[in-house]
């Protein structure tokens, strides 16, 4: 039955080689990613508490989730992170990349400076920002504010300012990556389009809106989708800047932190799995929607 290697066509042999090399990552993904993911689906229908057996309780976890005000609060927070984080970071990174693209002097240095925050450990950075937000005379931001004659801000100790205060370092770290991708996208636009536009007498704004942005569409799609996923999954900055609490009064708590709490302080693994499934569905829906809206047309 088994044909010997010599009997095969070149194409078949190639396919075998390809599958041979692919087997390792396939096994890896199936065992490390797909299998646990399927297990999470299963766990979401149980009342598993880490110790003891899994008992099936049907959709009870999903019903409980729908009636859990704490869940709707973190969903609201998560979408606030997304709603503020994506547009602000996209705008900032595009503006910076657009101008950086024109700068010749010190281009490499500037690009490196913008990229460094992306390479820095999130937790270390979050802690530094935590100190920036301290009241005067310790916190840098409040020292500047008071020196400039403004009143001091409570930042992390405020139920309204804490979420943007946590988001700021996340955006700051994220734009380094976005700028580099935008720069690559800008470089990939052929010069000839700009030359043609210049000959036709198009102004700078017109070139931006009718040449640059449309040709950057694949870059924009990529960045919107990846940064949306990142802000929907925000965790480390919140954890490090609020002592793992998502406070004050849960105003900065994102969904992922709630999942973590449910799993590892309440030990309700089943209920945590349910929330994970919801997060998965949200991520999937938003990514598909964005791909559909931004890619075609």
């Amino acid at each position: 039955m088994i044909r010997r290697l010599e009997d095969m066509t070149l194409g078949q042999r190639r396919a075998i080689w390809a599958w041979g090399f692919l087997a390792l990552p396939v096994v890896f993904y199936v065992s490390i990613r797909f299998y646990p993911t399927l297990e999470a689906f299963r766990a979401s229908f149980t009342n598993w508490n880490i110790v003891g057996r899994m008992e099936y309780i049907g959709v009870a976890n999903y019903v409980r989730l729908a009636h859990d005000p704490a869940f709707w609060k973190v969903i609201g927070n998560t979408f606030t992170y997304l709603g503020l984080g994506v547009p602000i970071s996209m705008l900032l990174s595009f503006v910076i990349a657009y101008h950086l693209d024109r700068v010749r002097f010190g281009h490499g240095l500037l690009r490196a400076l913008y990229f460094i925050p992306h390479l820095t450990t999130a937790v270390a950075m979050a802690w530094v920002w935590r100190w920036f937000y301290q009241p005067p005379p310790i916190g840098a931001f409040n020292v500047w504010l008071t020196t400039l004659g403004f009143g001091q801000m409570p930042f992390l100790r405020s139920t309204t300012q804490a979420l943007p205060a946590v988001l700021a370092p996340a955006i700051w770290a994220g734009i380094g990556f976005q700028i580099v991708i935008f720069l690559a996208g800008l470089k990939a636009i052929p010069r000839t389009y700009y030359e043609a536009a210049a000959i036709d007498g198009a102004g700078a704004w017109r070139v931006l809106f009718e040449v640059t942005l449309p040709l950057l569409r694949p870059t924009i799609v990529f960045l919107v989708v990846t940064s949306s996923i990142a802000y929907l999954r925000i965790f480390d900055y919140v954890y490090a800047m609020t002592n793992g609490q998502g406070g004050p009064l849960d105003t900065t708590k994102p969904l992922v932190l709630k999942i973590f709490e449910t799993a590892f302080t309440h030990f309700e693994m089943g209920y945590a799995a349910t929330q994970t499934i919801v997060l998965f569905v949200i991520l999937l829906a938003i990514s598909l929607l964005q791909l559909k809206l931004l890619r075609s047309r």
């Binding site: 880490i50 935590r130 100190w131 992390l156 139920t159 406070g247 009064l249 590892f264 309440h266």
Partner: protein, 421 residues
Amino acid sequence: MAMKAGKMGFWLGAILAALLATGTARAQVEIEYWQYTFAQRVQAIDELIKRFEAANPGIKVKHTHVPYDDFRVKIAAAIPAGQGPDVVQLFYGWLQDYLKAGLLQPLPASDFSAVEIEREFFPIVQQMKVDGKYYAVPTAVRSLALFWNKALFKEAGLDPNRPPATLDELVDYASKLTKRSPNGDLLQEGLTIDMGGQDHHWLREVLIRQYGGVPYSADKKSVAYNTDAGVAATQWYIDLVSKQKVGQIGFLTDGVTAFRSGKAGMTIDGSFRLGALDNQKGLDYGVAELPARNNIKSNFASYWVNGITTKATGAKLDASVKFLRFLTTPEAMELWLTTVGELPARRSVAEKDANKNHVKYGPFIRGLSYSYATDFVNESAQRKVMMDMVDKVVLKNMPTKQAVAEAAVEEQKLLDGFYKK
């Protein structure tokens, strides 16, 4: 005569069997001990194992330590699979969960008699008795005390060797220790205010009792602080921030950092903090019993215990019992005290003059005799209830009475969720 010979044969056989058994045991028995990773605890257990193995040549103890965050998960996964520890360290508040999951076996009464434990150990240890059987015993216990910075006391014109003894004195001293810039910015706290640290224990088991209340009902299943006493105690605590303004929530990120860096005159913390503070260069501090009110003293105690898992059977069980007995000897407790900074769980060891009058351990040990260990069902969630209660008043201007009432409802939900299971 024949009977005699038979008896003799029996005894000879028994002795031979016993010799053979110890002979094989000497070569074979290895038990596993698990605890969470914490430098001083690891060091202490390594030293104790060395001494135990020297005294018991037939037994080897394998010491595994697991990062705190994974500790419960790994144990829960390992034991039902026949892996993992024979003797395990756990927090006193986890006992119920461990029993429900069938992870622990009762300690043999012949080696750990209830009468002896109750005579020798601090009364808080009785929480480890379920249906008349003990499931775990501690090596050490912890309690709270007031730490004060002697240099800052001197600077504020206070006697650096006389800590506040009452709550009124505490407020008075804290006001004198608080420093603000001309525009009112806080430069130095009189007393750290940090519900995320040990303050929630202080409020729950100390202040509420000092105001004449109790935190929970006698059967531990109901919240009992939603009373005038509970509100008054909470109000007194919140006034430290909003009226006396001797501290600020989140100042220098947390109470420990503020005190360590010499920017707080006083703080309330546990005996486990002594090691870190002693390593802080230039910090000259003292330790005192928690301030009293109307002559009422109270304290919060907590402890880690060691138990034997259901995995240990036969020779391993015998070895585990021996090891656990060793871990609760006065010798082990003395070592634990000097290495980890936790207090001996046997009264006779803790209350030796050298320990009871020790300048740093002493106040903690004296506090133990009037301490309470909260029956937490979920410590971090219950702490959060207290943090939110204070934040609602401080940030949202909610009346204290309402914040206490809401906290009681929230915490009752946690208790109900646990006890109905």
